[in-house]
């Protein structure tokens, strides 16, 4: 049962990466189309780690002043994605495949670093816990969000007119507003693990639809 629980968590978290990779054109270009995203994630993580350690004050209680700097630091992701898209090495495929590849690579690296060890250590321990199933579902929504973020960053950098403003609003909402709502909801008790998951699901659905609309409009 412990094995099946671990298998469920791992499958639910990581299998979508392979499903997306294998059912899209990324498969034709191979894993190298995703490497830029993987590398970008590690670079961004290191930069964010340094920024957190030096800039973010420690605070026990939730307050907008203490939370806002934390979320603003995640904007480093946008900078790093912009850099990754500008690398020659990542210009190996067409526009959509590049967006998808970099987003998927970034998301895959994030999922592996954030969840794999926790699942093996805890979910494999024999005790059934819904916490890890929630984590796995959340990881899925995170993957879709990262892919859309990559698309939006690319479109923001390559389009003109109203698009840069629109994508900036979407990115700001995704990277700053959403985490603020979740952290406030959890800290104040408005949200619990399950309602937070529902919120994430609805948010992800909306964000993916917005992303699709933006991509549609620019293609």
């Amino acid at each position: 049962m412990a094995f099946l629980h671990l298998l469920n968590c791992v499958l639910l978290t990581f299998a979508p990466i392979f499903v997306i990779f294998n059912s899209t054109s990324l498969h034709e270009y191979g894993a190298r189309s995703c490497l830029g995203g993987v590398f970008g994630y590690f670079m961004s993580s290191m930069a964010k780690l340094l920024a957190y350690a030096t800039l973010v004050p420690l605070s026990e209680e939730w307050s907008l002043i203490s939370e806002l700097p934390k979320e603003l630091i995640t904007l480093i992701d946008i900078y790093m994605l912009t850099k990754v898209f500008s690398w020659k090495a990542s210009r190996t495929a067409d526009k959509k495949t590049r967006m998808m590849g970099i987003g998927l690579g970034w998301g895959a690296a994030e999922l592996i670093c954030s969840h794999l060890l926790i699942f093996i250590v805890n979910a494999g321990g024999g005790e059934f816990s819904w916490e890890y199933m929630q984590r796995a579902i959340n990881a899925n929504w995170g993957l879709f969000q990262v892919i859309v973020v990559a698309c939006l960053v690319y479109i923001r950098n390559t389009s003109s007119g109203v698009m840069p403003l629109l994508t900036t609003i979407f990115l700001g909402a995704q990277l700053v507003v959403r985490p603020l709502i979740i952290s406030y909801g959890l800290a104040s008790g408005i949200l619990n693990e399950w309602t937070m998951l529902c919120f994430q699901s609805i948010w992800t659905l909306c964000f993916v639809i917005c992303g699709k609309v933006v991509v549609e409009l620019t293609s």
């Binding site: 099946l4 469920n8 979508p16 997306i20 059912s23 899209t24 250590v121 005790e127």
Partner: protein
């Protein structure tokens, strides 16, 4: 880094809802047959022994307060996959139950754990059985351990030496005792009375006799023999009593009488177990027994004699004196045990961890006094005062050390903690001793290892199966969505 990850994985795999140290029922081979619990690892759901319908194919939990031989046999008859006995004071684990557990073969794991608040909570929660739903919690008990291997050619050692220089021309009086302890739970074996008491008395005799011998040696050699594997059918004494080594043969040949010390830490009454009384003309033997009788009388000790003929055909030897009787050496076993042992589990109880210090000190003085009076042919004068016997606090310290250092035969190999500690004491006493190494083939134990029981909350396997099917369904839907609805969003792979 690699090591850290492995460590984290192990910690993860070992962590549980409740973790308690557990002690496994003994596993040993005797005369070609395996006894005790034959399996070490398990991973089963738990059941309270009172919920009889749930016991089969689960680990049954019994608290010591509900433990009787009947309960135990009934629970085992229900064919549980494992058994966990929760110990509290130890009173419930009677000698009969210990003998039953130790002298039968169980093809499943049997463990003991001391009661903790968490374990008690788990035990009580198992008693309540409501209607099981798809997501109701169940308790999974797990011990992940490799199966234990047989300790072949178990190496043991005997220690022997003289209180004073050995002289060929003098007869020898021997003091014989065994060092080890035995019980159905090897890791909890303390053996303070049986036979820590005998060993400590022998050590105290060395100290006292060395004092008087140094002043004026008695006209007898005084030999001390400490054997290992005494509890397992006196396997240690046999190689000492039968070896053909010439030097030892010579020293053994001089033995006029040997006194075996066995279980002397409690009880008002003492028994001298002999295989035969003195014959006409055996003045020395008459003197020895009369010294013991007169000292007992003066010390208000009830001393009784028990004669038991040696049954040469019986492979089990209940008393040490019977080993020597086979070699035609006269000796007696002094003990507070009235009856002969019938099997190896009569040697010790799991909870043999106390001595009555007053009785024990009285017995030390009694043995020392009787022996010294005989050796120096003194009739009425007391050889030792009460002050000569070690102080209670010091004796208690030795007893504590004996408790701490496990004396189960498999733990008493050369170089073991107890062996080093014991040799240290002998050296401290200035006792010149020799070591006889031997292998004990009769009772072969299995390796021991401290285990930890993990108790987890789990959901029924069906829930995991349904989730698994749900995940597969989700992945299929994801694939279909990308395949048929993702054309405008991404460039879909061309088939």
């Amino acid at each position: 880094m690699k090591g850290r990850i492995v460590f984290l994985l192990l910690v993860g795999l070992c962590s549980g809802f409740v973790q308690v140290p557990v002690h496994r029922l003994i596993q040993y081979d005797y005369e070609g047959t395996s006894f005790g619990s034959q399996v070490a690892s398990f991973n089963f759901l738990g059941a309270h022994f009172k919920n009889e319908s749930e016991v089969p194919r689960k680990i049954a939990l019994i608290h010591e307060t509900s433990l009787t031989q009947e309960t135990l046999e009934n629970t085992i008859a229900l064919k549980p996959s494992a058994l966990l006995i929760i110990l509290s004071s130890g009173v419930g684990l009677t000698r009969e139950i210990q003998v039953y557990l130790g002298s039968n073969t169980f093809p499943f794991p049997i463990y003991f754990a001391y009661e903790t608040p968490e374990l008690l909570e788990v035990y009580e929660s198992l008693l309540v059985t409501g209607e099981q739903t798809i997501d109701s919690d169940q308790l999974q008990f797990s011990i992940l351990s490799e199966e234990k291997s047989l300790v072949k050619n178990l190496q043991q050692e005997n220690f022997y030496g003289f209180a004073y220089e050995f002289s060929e021309n003098l007869s020898t009086i021997g003091i014989v005792t065994y060092l080890d302890a035995f019980s159905v739970i090897p890791e909890l074996t303390k053996g303070v009375d049986s036979n820590g008491s005998g060993v400590i008395i022998a050590l105290e005799l060395i100290r006292l006799m060395k004092k008087v011998y140094d002043k004026s040696p008695a006209p007898y050699n005084l030999l001390f023999v400490f054997t290992s594997s005494g509890t397992t059918n006196l396997q240690g004494l046999r190689p000492w009593a039968t070896t053909e080594e010439s030097e030892l043969q010579q020293k053994r040949g001089n033995i006029l009488f040997a006194l075996c010390l066995d279980t002397l830490g409690q009880s008002d009454k003492l028994y001298m177990h002999v295989s035969r009384f003195q014959k006409d003309g055996e003045i020395e033997l008459t003197n020895i027994y009369s010294q013991f009788n007169s000292t007992a009388e003066k010390s208000d000790i009830l001393l009784d004699y028990k004669k038991k003929k040696v049954n040469m055909a019986d492979s089990f030897v209940p008393w040490q004196n019977e080993i020597f009787a086979k070699n035609k050496i006269v000796l007696a076993t002094l003990s507070h045990l009235e009856n002969s042992r019938r099997g190896i589990f009569d040697y010790s109880s799991v909870f043999d961890d106390k001595l009555d210090m007053d009785i024990f000190k009285r017995n030390i003085k009694f043995v020392a006094e009787s022996l010294a009076k005989y050796l120096y042919c003194v009739e009425n004068t007391a050889m030792f005062s009460k002050a000569d016997v070690l102080k209670t606090t010091y004796l208690e310290e030795i007893v504590e050390n004996f408790k701490e250092l496990n004396r189960y035969p498999a733990k008493m190999t050369p170089g073991s903690k107890f062996s080093n500690y014991f040799q240290g004491i002998l050296k401290e006493l200035g006792f010149n001793f020799k070591v006889q190494k031997f292998s004990a083939p009769d009772v072969t134990p299995y390796n021991l290892k401290q285990e930890s029981l993990s108790v987890y909350k789990v959901k029924p396997a069906m829930l995991d199966l349904y989730i698994f099917l749900g995940v597969l369904g989700y992945l299929a839907v994801l694939w279909l969505v990308i395949k048929f609805f993702g054309k405008n969003f991404i460039k879909v792979k061309k088939n």
